[in-house]
């Protein structure tokens, strides 16, 4: 009969109303910022620079090869190489700036980096009252420890750690072989983990 659909609707909304008080399944709102949703493993926002060890600047994996700078589509990375007194390039960035107001979170920098030095961060509370300086992150702000990387992307970090450890072991074996062949001690540029 005319009107039965309306009654059905009333019953449905009444069920929602009552249910939202005792059934947590129904009340799905996560009251940010009091509560936070756990971010999924694949979430990403802006890149960060991973470092090993305790000193952020010494432990940076980045060797300032500038591949990411060239590949970044909106060109938001700016890198300058550290040079010693004689002007010889050291394998370290003197400046590593990333403009997150330009970055489009495409992750291409991460894909192209041969040294697993740049990874995607998940931090999203980046609002600032200074729209120029506040959004231009330098290498100190970008540097994050490997333990943090493991915490936010456990699966990916485990794979990277394994690969780096294998490479290191291979390099160590090669160095040992070289050392056995020639008595001169080879300088091992191993990546510490």
């Amino acid at each position: 009969m005319l009107g039965s659909g309306i009654v059905k609707g009333f019953v449905e909304t009444a069920r929602n109303f009552v249910g939202s008080f005792h059934d947590p399944e129904r009340l799905v709102t996560i009251e940010y910022p009091d509560e936070r949703q756990e971010l999924p493993e694949n979430s990403r926002n802006f890149p960060m620079l991973v470092y090993d060890g305790d000193d952020p600047m010494k432990g940076l994996r980045c060797v300032a090869c500038k591949i990411c700078e060239k590949e970044c589509p909106p060109q938001c990375i700016y890198i300058e190489v550290e040079r010693d007194a004689k002007g010889k390039a050291l394998k370290h960035p003197r400046i590593f700036d990333l403009d997150i107001s330009v970055c489009m979170s495409c992750q291409i920098c991460v894909e192209v980096c041969p040294f697993d030095a740049i990874k995607m961060d998940t931090a999203f509370e980046l609002s600032t009252d200074n729209r120029f300086g506040g959004l231009l992150l330098n290498k100190h702000q970008l540097a994050k420890p490997n333990s943090y990387y493991r915490a936010i992307h456990p699966l990916e970090a485990a794979e990277v750690d394994e690969r780096l450890a294998a490479e290191q072991a291979k390099a160590a074996a090669k160095a040992k072989a070289a050392a056995a062949k020639a008595p001169a001690p080879a300088a091992v540029n191993a990546v510490a983990t």
Binding site: L2, F10, F17
Partner: protein
């Protein structure tokens, strides 16, 4: 003891008026009533907005406002301060005087309508012989205000919204008034006090003799509720301010406190029309069953009003906005014939009151109920299938 609580506010007013010098009393008495009505219903408005936002939230499975004060209880205060401090913008091309007057013309008649409503035993500001007529006459001014707002804004959305509002309000005024006519016929008076008195006493010694317990009364009550929702521009009949097509209808060019006044007037109108429904069909301030009349009369009125408010919030949370042609069709093709027929049923009910054979009461009730239900179902089916009020189906023509 009962007398004390029941007449608490009445005696309080008498005490205050009595304390004044002789010459002031005539002026003070209505002023005190007006201040009381204004204070009570303005706070009720604040409370309703909060309950509505909370309730709608729960209906949509979200918590609703909960940041201002404990559990969001101070939200109305925050809204109030926001409305007060917002910039008041008047369009350059607007008719400044009318634009300013529209909210006032909207609120004043709504407040006037409260004058004749009996809120409890002896609690009516003005006991008019033609109270019902006065109520509707005052209520009709709202249409003027809406059109003033729409016209003076000099904005096509405003004007279209106002036109819609006028069309809707005039169409629904008919079923609204005709629905009350049954009660007037049987009581034989337009005074709301008399109408409440006519519902005193009990059936079988316990159930109150409210008009809503008669078949025609129930039908009139339901029609009255539908028409009242449309009259006060509530969802699902809030087409005049349909965001999707009209931005906010006649309210487009209003901001700040003028907008808030429209908002207040709309809610006060809703309370007034709910109060009228209580008075006409739900026994006014009478208790629903015999054993409960030890509670004060104004308490019962308040409980019923709260029930209406909850119901209107529930309706808003449930029903989607209707389409314009459906709105009109529903009023003219469905409600109007039904409410006219309902008057006939009310007359039958009146003339069968003298029946005195065995089972007469049941026969009278069932007979009248059938007289309403059968046309309702037939009319509903006919309109649904034949006159395009049902769901539309579209076919692609190759």
């Amino acid at each position: 003891m009962f007398e004390l609580f029941d007449q608490l506010f009445v005696n309080l007013k008498h005490a205050v008026v009595g304390a004044l010098p002789e010459g002031w009393r005539g002026l003070a008495s209505p002023l005190i009533s007006a201040a009381a009505i204004l204070g009570v219903f303005a706070s009720l408005f604040a409370l309703t907005v909060l309950v509505e936002r909370k309730g709608l939230g729960r209906i949509q499975n979200r918590p609703g406002p909960n940041r201002v004060g404990p559990a969001g209880l101070l939200q109305p205060l925050a809204d109030f301060i926001k409305a007060l401090t917002k910039e008041d913008i008047v369009p350059v091309s607007a008719d400044k005087v009318l634009h300013f007057l529209a909210p006032v013309v909207m609120l004043a008649p709504v407040l006037l309508a409260y004058a004749v409503l009996p809120f409890g035993r002896n609690m009516v500001a003005v006991d008019f012989d033609a109270g019902l007529l006065f109520f509707f006459a005052a209520g009709a001014c709202v249409e003027l205000a809406v059109f003033m707002a729409g016209w003076s804004s000099h904005n096509k959305f405003s004007l279209l919204g106002a036109m819609r509002a006028i069309a809707q309000m005039i169409s629904y005024e008919l079923p609204l008034i005709l629905a009350t006519l049954g009660v007037v016929m049987l009581v034989g008076s337009l005074s709301l006090e008399d109408i409440v008195d006519s519902q005193a006493g009990h059936h079988w010694g316990w159930l109150a003799r409210w008009w809503v317990f008669t078949p025609w009364g129930l039908a009139a009550f339901v029609i009255f509720l539908i028409a009242a929702t449309a009259e006060s521009n509530r969802a699902p009949f809030d087409l005049p301010e349909g965001e999707a097509e009209l931005v906010a209808g006649h309210l487009v060019e209003y901001s700040g406190f003028k907008y808030a006044i429209f908002f207040i007037a709309e809610y006060l109108g809703l309370f007034a029309v709910s109060a009228l429904a209580i008075t006409l069909f739900l026994g006014g301030w009478h208790a629903p069953v015999a054993g409960l009349d030890w509670l004060p009369s104004w308490f019962w009125f308040g409980v019923k009003l709260a029930g209406f408010i909850v119901f209107f919030i529930w309706v808003r949370g449930t029903l989607p906005r209707v389409r314009v042609d459906h709105l009109m069709g529903f009023a003219w093709k469905f409600l109007l014939p039904l409410v006219l027929w309902n008057l006939v049923v009310a007359a039958v009910w009146w003339y069968s009151r003298g029946w005195a054979f065995a089972g007469a009461g049941i026969l009278r009730w069932v007979g009248c109920a059938a007289m309403i239900l059968i046309p309702y179902s037939l009319l509903g089916r006919a309109l649904y299938t034949r006159h395009g009020l049902g769901p539309r189906t579209y076919r692609l023509v190759a």
